[in-house]
């Protein structure tokens, strides 16, 4: 039995991943923003075999509640083996371009809140000297593109933060997994046309679950994104800046 904390537990990717922990009878503590949905996710996981240690409603932007919620989770679980951080929003790039306030707010939700959570979380876990932190970033972190660089920039900040955190926590015996999903068919992406590159949350969840259990550092999900992003990163800037990506 593992003791698993999930932040952003009602995101489609987190929910699908949580089901895989539930199948193993793991003990879960769930955190999400909306009460009724958090309860729906918790009930489902309980019937699927999870032991629900607790649920807590949290808007991740309430930074001063982070410490209390994390301590509550650690207490309810009896220690944290795995912490999966999966909350996020998908900003409307066009609207962000027209509003500095909105842009900052999106960076707040997708980067600042995560960085704050990770700071407190790593403190807890470093003290225990064991466990794994897994964070969902995005392939969008790999290179800024005109179509979604607000989101990409936020994810890149988290991504780089994780890189450093991994180095620091390595000595303490705590692992850090960076998860970079590509296009996933979830409520967050409901408005998009779905093509060949899209995957289902269940598929993505399997790889995330596997990567967490096997202590991977950085994973693209599905894995073919590693090669797509490699090609995109290798593109000369001169060419890239004129492209419509």
């Amino acid at each position: 039995m593992r003791r698993v904390l999930i932040i952003g537990a009602t995101s489609a990717i987190a929910e699908a991943t949580a089901r895989l922990f539930a199948d193993d009878g793991d003990r879960l503590f769930l955190v999400a923003r909306r009460k009724a949905r958090l309860q729906a996710a918790a009930d489902d996981l309980a019937v699927r075999g999870a032991e629900i240690a607790g649920c807590e409603v949290l808007d991740v932007n309430e930074l001063d509640r982070h410490r209390a919620v994390l301590e509550q989770a650690e207490h309810a679980l009896g220690g944290i083996d795995v912490a999966l951080v999966a909350h996020g929003t998908l900003p409307d790039q066009q609207l962000c371009q027209a509003s500095a306030r909105l842009t900052v707010q999106e960076i707040q939700t997708n980067a600042v809140s995560t960085v704050a959570l990770l700071t407190r979380l790593s403190e807890l876990m470093e003290r225990k000297g064991a466990g794994r932190i897994a964070v969902v970033t995005s392939v969008a972190a790999d290179r800024g593109r005109q179509s979604n660089y607000v989101y990409g920039a936020a994810k890149a900040a988290v991504d780089t933060f994780l890189e450093g955190l991994r180095q620091r926590l390595y000595k303490a015996g705590v692992g850090v997994t960076t998860i970079r999903p590509g296009f996933v068919d979830t409520p967050m992406t409901a408005g998009f046309e779905k093509g060949l590159l899209w995957s289902q949350p269940e598929t993505v969840a399997k790889r995330i679950h596997h990567s967490i259990l096997n202590g991977k550092d950085v994973v693209y999900v599905p894995s073919f994104w590693r090669w797509i992003m490699l090609a995109i990163r290798l593109m000369p800037r001169r060419v890239f800046k004129a492209m419509k990506l």
Partner: protein, 443 residues
């Protein structure tokens, strides 16, 4: 609103008209303002147009796939409407519980199973799916939510079971699972060569066998009736049966033409009939209940033109004659059905106003779409069914005329008052057009 090219029915090519789609993910969501007419969409395992809504908006329910509660004492499961029967079996068979009723595929949602009030091989013991539904919540387009059970909103309960998705969206339901000892089935197979013989086997098996069903060879009925195989089975006690492997090949794309030429179907049918098989066997429940699930996308074998399923039920006193005649007509037309299925239903009163399964014998075929000749044959079968006082199954239908539907489902006028005014399906448009020529014109 998302794209919709993935929303089809099981037997037909893409919907004739463009349809929008929205997905529900949480029980606290509402239907979008405007954008109707709406229609709930489960997993698209209906064969015809009862899950299609040209010009309207499908409400995709696969995102509502959560369990809500399970009582390990009584077996009562509450779950969201988009949960697949395969999810339920996957979770609860290892704990010793089984679905009270299951259709021939586990790839259907709980909501879809209620809306078509599906039946299984145990109808003679257990009735249809709706008989095991305790309660559900219905979301209407005006935003209201109705808790329905035989005691609360009982008329909505009766209208929605078998209600073809037209009374609103079922958000969750409570069903009673039943105890089993393990995943194994004890199965027996017997040959027969006449309809009367089949009916006799059904009668003789009624009390001792929970599950009964027969396959018939629709190309070569033989003198005086129908040759086929009668299967009967029970859940086995204490036996262990190996689960079939999970990875299965399927057709990744739809070929332009049917891969099932008449000759091949003929050979297949003969092989099924002649193949030496053990009379008694212990089998895992999956191949017993879901032989077709072993080949994902088998529907694509029929090519881009698709195919028609035809399923009717004939009252028992007429069954021998009418079934015999239908089989003879089908054989003569040589339209070729891959596997034809025959089963005697039990006598329980149907739980839904528009439920298909009712006392009598049911017969199902599939026919590659060869255009006019296929439609003409199906019209003939409608007439035989109607004359015998029977009914055609909407879940399988894409072409019956309004008059045939009306005669098989006299409660439809009462039902119409309970239909959500903002809900509609291609099926309903067709069978309530009042214009019996409509079907022919569309064909």
């Amino acid at each position: 609103m998302g794209r919709n090219s993935r929303y089809r029915s099981w037997a037909r090519p893409p919907a004739p008209g463009p349809q929008g789609a929205v997905r529900l993910h949480w029980r606290d969501e509402q239907l979008p303002e405007g954008g109707g007419p709406f229609l709930a969409y489960g997993n698209g395992r209906s064969y015809g147009d009862s899950c299609l809504n040209s010009g309207g908006t499908l409400v995709d329910l696969r995102g509502l796939d959560r369990f809500i509660s399970f009582d390990a004492e009584t077996g009562v499961l509450r779950c969201e409407a988009g949960v697949l029967l395969s999810d339920i079996l996957g979770r609860f068979v290892p704990e010793g519980w089984f679905l009270p009723v299951t259709p021939g595929t586990q790839q259907v949602t709980v909501g879809g199973a209620i809306a078509n009030d599906v039946h299984g091989k145990n109808h003679h013991w257990a009735g249809s799916f709706g008989h095991h539904v305790r309660r559900f919540e219905l979301l209407r387009s005006d935003g209201s939510r109705l808790l329905c059970s035989p005691r609360e909103n009982a008329d909505w309960f009766g209208a929605t079971i078998g209600g073809l998705g037209l009374t609103g969206v079922i958000l969750w339901a409570e069903i009673a699972l039943k105890r089993i000892e393990g995943p194994a089935m004890e199965v027996e197979s017997l040959r027969f060569s006449r309809v009367e013989e089949f009916l006799e086997l059904s009668r003789a098996s009624h009390n001792a066998y929970e599950y009964t069903v027969a396959w018939i060879d629709s190309l070569t009925p033989g003198p005086g009736g129908a040759r086929g195989l009668f299967f009967r089975g029970n859940h086995a006690a204490g036996h262990h049966a190996a689960a079939p492997s999970r990875r299965k090949p399927g057709l990744p794309v739809t070929p332009p033409v049917s891969l099932l030429p008449r000759a091949a179907v003929g050979l297949f049918n003969t092989a099924v009939y002649r193949w030496p098989r053990r009379r008694h066997a212990v089998a895992h429940y999956e191949p017993f209940f879901y032989p077709l699930d072993a080949v994902p996308n088998w529907n694509r074998l029929f090519g881009r033109k698709g195919f028609y399923q035809y399923q009717c039920v004939i009252p028992q006193d007429q069954a021998g004659a009418a079934i015999g005649e239908i089989i003879a007509r089908v054989a003569r037309a040589q339209e070729g059905s891959f596997l034809s299925v025959l089963k005697v239903f039990g006598n329980r009163k149907p739980p839904g106003w528009l439920s298909f399964s009712r006392p009598g014998t049911t017969l199902a075929f599939d026919f590659p779409d060869r255009g006019r000749s296929t439609l003409a044959l199906l019209d003939t079968l409608d007439e035989i069914t109607d004359e015998a006082g029977g009914a055609v199954y909407p879940a399988k239908d894409a072409r019956m005329k309004a008059r045939i539907f009306e005669r098989g489902y006299p409660a439809l006028h009462r039902f119409e008052r309970y239909r959500d005014p903002a809900f509609m399906s291609d099926f309903w448009r067709r069978v309530t057009s009042g214009d019996t020529q409509q079907g022919a014109a569309n064909a």
